[in-house]
Each structure stands twice: as C-alpha cells, then as structure tokens.
Symmetry: C2
Subunit: 298 residues, 2 copies
C-alpha cells in the first residue's frame, strides 16, 4: 500500500494533506448531526468545541464510574490501568468502554457517534480510548504533536479518515493544563525525524521523543496570534481531527483536569498489514484490532 | 523588631494581612497616577493590568538593549547574568538598571514610579529588578508563591509595603507560560514549613522548595472560578502586590515570553538588621542595600 505520509526518516518534511477533512454533509433530519456552520469550522480549524452536550448529572456518573473502575477486578495489573509511580494516584484508564457498560454506552451515544459518522461519512469503530487525569500541581505538559503521525507510523492507519471525540469531565480552563491546538495545522503533515525504536510506546506514553515536530516545523505551522485553547465546562464535547497539531502545558492549579477520549476511525481506514514506520504494531490496547462498526445503544 | 509574619517554621499557618494594601490616594493633578477605580481594583485583587503604557517603539528599544547587555563587559561572569546551562541562551539579567542608562531611565519613568509611590504613599527604591526570558518549548513552570514571603524570610523586609511593577516585552498569552494570579490572596499570609538552608537562593532561583505553600493552603486560598492570568500585548504594565499568590506554567509555544520586573519598596520598609527566617541575607544583587529614593529622570 502506498505511503501517502512518509515519516520517521532522516529529514523532516512538511507536505500537504492529500485527502478531505470533512467526508460527509449536513443532515437536517438528524438533530445529533453537525450543522453546515459547525462542519465548516471543523474543516477550516481542525476542531470544534460544543458546550453543554452532556449534563452535570451524566458527568457525575462518569466520574464516579471511572473512580470505581480503578478498583475493577478485571483491570488489576493490566496495562490499561496506569497509576502515578510516586503517589499511586490514578493517571489513565485505557479503553474504559471495554470494562464498563456506562462507558460502552457513552462511546455509542448518538450525540457523539452520529457526528463522528457524519464527519467521516462511514461507519466507525474505536481505535483507542482513554480517560486522562492530569493531576493538580504535578500534572506534566505534553509537547506538540499530531496523533495521526503516530497512528500512521506505529499503528498502520493509512489515511487521515480518523478523529478524536472527547468529553470534559472537569472544567478545562486556561489555568489547569488544557489542550492547546493550532487551527489549520491539520492541512499539512509533518514527517518527523528518527527511526522508531522497538517498543516505543512504553516510553512515548510518558514522554514522546519520536514523532515530535522540530522547532522549525512548529514555527512554520504556527502563528502566535492564532493558537487556540479547548476551554469549557464539564460536559463539553470536542472533536479534533486526527492530524491537527496539539499539546498541553503542565497543570499548576491544585485541581485535576480530567478528560475522556474516544478515537473514532472509519471502517475504510483499518490498519495496513504492517505499520508505516515502526518495527511492530503497538499493543492492542493502544491500537484496536476489532473493527466491528459501532452500533446504537441497544 | 516584631515579626508580624512568621514563616519557615514547623507548621504551616495562614494568617490575615496586618496592614493596608493601598497606602495612598487618587491624585487628579497627576496624569500618571492611578484612578480611584484602578486603586480599588488593586486593593481588592492585589494586581492591576494596564495596557498600552509603553509604545511598540519603546519596547523594541528595551529588547535591543537587553540583547546587547548580554555582551556587556561589566556583566561578564557576574551573578546578574544567567544563561541556560544546556543551550547557553540568555535566561535572566538582574538589575539591568545598574548596567544600562536606558533601563535606569525606565526604572524612574513617571508612568511607573508615580504609581508605585502613590500605592505605597512614600518614596521608593528598587529592592531587586530583573528581565526574565521564559524560552519557547523548554521554558519551565514556576510554582505558586508569595514574593513577600521570601523578601520577609530571607531579605528582612518587615512589612508588605512593597510591590512589583513589570513590563511585557513580548506578548503574554494564555499559551506561553504567562503569570497566573490568585485575586485577593494578598490579604492572607501563608507562613510556610521548613527552615531555610544556607545559601538557599542558589537553589531557589531554579526551583523553590522553601517558602512554597502546601496543597492544603492553595486549596484554601484559591477558587477555581477566580484565577486570573496576566495577559497582554508588549508594552503592557502590570502592578502586583508583594504578597499576592502567583505562579506560571511552562511555555510550550515556540516563542519566548519576556518580561522586565522592578520591585519597588517603600523607604519606610527597609530591611531589618537580620532576615526574619534565614541564616543570612541574600546577596546584594537579589536584595539591594542601597536605599536611596528614586528620583525623576534628569
């Protein structure tokens, strides 16, 4: 299969995106679909922030559910459950939808799924999901990157027909280590420098070293007047395009910043027979091998 | 001399401020003075942000001047000049007004000095000054602290009749590691835990360990709805009260965030005969022993 987006080579290259951002169209018959204006925002910026999609009550349920999941018998000792090494506090739960009926239901909720299907104009499955808790005071920054770069290089996703939908479970403010995005950056692809080492995911989940654009690339993609922050109250829903450049600073407030992420991939974009720029596929909990299309909640 | 603000002991204590925030009054005859509204904001929040005080042209001159100062013969090898250890880039210049006629003039500029004198209702001198360059990508966060806690503990300033005035030399945005402040926090004093070690300033300029409030103290001082950021274009002037709690996250943008700080102390608040909670005074470049009142530019 042709590699449209070469990366992890000897030199950094910036090339144009070679496919659409929005595959679908407005649908006035579906109240869960994005409007023409919302689709246009997503197309030009590479993300859209939609407040008040989930109620405070629903968010409360999700918070209690993930706190309970940390003690779930099936999860103990598994890679899906990540605690802070020094404090033993919960940091991440991968694929909570596999261990919790509530998160399974949320992952198929029409308020999310219909929009993902609309943008990608196809059935979708979950490539990866996670809850991330960025602790107060100690929560660390994450450098600028394109998720797609990793999904392409290490997971073998051929095209950018993939996105992340996420729900704020705490307020995301300018102060608590929120996600910053570079509007429009999804229209270029930064092929990064350096051959991916074996088992790179073990290091990259903590600090990414491969697949990180250089200062030069960032300077050419970014304009200081045009950065954006994903700020919002709990229950806000964000869609960000797989290739949009994003990063986040550390969280110096005393309170955690917690978000629930679902990566929806088009069923027409399942992995190639091997990764495009890594010795092996990442493990299944980071890159699903189950391509069954998501259906409505029963 | 009575210690009104005990700190660096065995237990953390939070006590009320024991003196005014604003000592002076509005002065309609002086166009450089703060208005009654501005004084009220400073009194209640502990800071005030004033855009467009210095022109783009003036800021350009200041930027060129500090870049030149890095090569100033008198400064080479001195503690006032701080470079990044790994990259040799300029990080800080202390007391630039002592080495540069331009910064000397700025430090006495009526647009700053008159306001400082008005707030403190007295003549003032410069306790410390510095230019801080928080680098792009690598610029590190600084935890929450009150400057006065250190000035009291380590420099012997008896009272809170002291403030910092600072000028933005680059834009300060939500994205580039700006100063966050806790409005109203200047009305309480957090006496911190731990005896100050000898030569603490050598470590504390990089990472402060003593004089840092606990998570409990932060939780009691802060309200997540009420944090503030000092954002503004180059040339913006900020006054922040000596005891207001502030901190800053890291700078993940590719561009530096640069500010010029002057600490104005009332001549009625010169250091006691010894520090209140440290074995020795900090060196003179951090805590001036020259209490000559600032006068206008000649």
């Amino acid at each position: 299969m042709e590699d449209l987006y070469p990366t992890r080579r000897n030199e950094e290259v910036i090339i144009d995106r070679r496919e659409p951002v929005v595959y679908g169209a407005p649908d006035s018959h579906n109240s869960n679909a994005l409007s023409a204006d919302q689709l246009a925002t997503y197309e030009s910026d590479g993300f859209i922030i939609i407040p008040n999609v989930f109620s405070a009550h629903e968010v409360d349920f999700m918070v209690r559910e993930y706190e309970t999941l940390a003690f779930n018998h099936d999860l103990q000792g598994r890679e899906e459950l990540v605690f802070e090494p020094e404090s033993n506090e919960l940091r991440s739960i991968f694929n909570p939808q596999r261990f919790s009926p509530l998160f399974d239901r949320i992952s198929r909720d029409q308020r999310i799924k219909d929009k993902a299907q609309q943008i990608l104009d196809s059935d979708v499955y979950i490539h990866q999901a996670r809850i991330n808790i960025k602790r107060g005071i100690h929560g660390k920054s994450f450098p600028w990157h394109s998720d797609f770069e990793t999904w392409h290089a290490e997971d073998g996703l051929p095209r950018m027909r993939v996105l992340t939908a996420w729900i704020m479970l705490t307020e995301n403010t300018p102060f608590n280590g929120p996600l910053f995005l570079v509007p429009g950056s999804h229209k270029q692809f930064v092929g990064c420098v350096g051959e991916t080492p074996k088992e790179h995911h073990k290091a990259s989940l903590r600090q990414q070293k491969y697949g990180v654009p250089s200062l030069n690339a960032l300077n050419s993609l970014m304009d200081s007047d045009k950065l954006a922050g994903a700020f919002g109250k709990p229950g806000t829903l964000v869609f960000h395009e797989g290739n949009v450049m994003h990063g986040s600073p550390d969280n110096i407030t005393p309170w955690p910043r917690t978000n629930l992420f679902f990566v929806y991939n088009s069923i027409h974009n399942t992995p190639a027979s091997k990764p495009f720029a890594a010795p092996d596929f990442r493990p299944e909990f980071l890159a699903s091998q189950n391509f069954t299309p998501l259906r409505e909640v029963d």
